[in-house]
Symmetry: C2
Subunit: 108 residues, 2 copies
DNA sequence: CGGACGTATAACTCGATGGTTATGGGATGA
DNA sequence: TCATCCCATAACCATCGAGTTATACGTCCG
């Protein structure tokens, strides 16, 4: 619930396998570990570990049903990422308003 | 110029030291390696290496002036990040429109 | 109860990477 | 020219993390 720093989000999403798992949960909705493992290209323990990292980052939630565990994406956790990115772009635009900097850019 | 995949961007920005360098260039504009090193908390070679990685990712550009090198941020390179993030959020909202999925969510 | 199934954890290996010190190499200036 | 400065590269080291196999734990079913 508490918004996490962009640092954990960047680190968590930097791994392609892990990011692919998150993407699949975003696109296709809730899925079990088995279903995710079937097309992940890595072993089941690897998938479980990645899902744990995603959960620690607040990007997914898990739901236990019998002997299987369903995971679903929580894309709201991406908010700090959007904030950080638009803030960086914002600084850039603000500096664009600075005439001196603008001129310095133009003669490049 | 060609838009790079989010993969390289995530990996490049996952390191805190490197991301801090990029943030400073976004906030404060063009700076030399020496100026960046002074407050980076790591050695000058480490800073140079980080700047090289940022350049390879298209996030910064360098300009040689005498014996010093000026780096500046290219926040436009963040576009794929924004795209990816909003796309993930978009999938989530679209799935929310699916009545079946909505009902499945409601009885949880 | 006992075996098969689904998932998580343990223990380990190994390659990637971020840090360091040492050095190279071009630019500046006495 | 020679010393100094700024930055990049080289070479090396240590840590981290993603993958593996093996195993433990809980659930379903016969």
């Amino acid at each position: 619930m508490t918004p996490l720093s962009p640092d954990l989000l960047f680190k968590t999403l930097a791994d392609p396998t892990r990011r692919a798992l998150f993407e699949r949960l975003c696109r296709e909705g809730e899925q079990t570990v088995g279903a995710l493992t079937a097309r992940a290209g890595v072993s089941q323990p690897a998938v479980s570990k990645h899902l744990g990292v995603l959960r620690d980052a607040g990007l997914v939630s898990d739901r236990h049903e019998g002997r299987q565990t369903h995971y679903r994406a929580l894309p709201g956790a991406l908010a700090p990422l959007l904030d950080w990115t638009s803030q960086m772009a914002g600084f850039w635009e603000r500096r664009f308003d600075d005439l001196e900097d603008l001129l310095k850019r133009m003669d490049q």
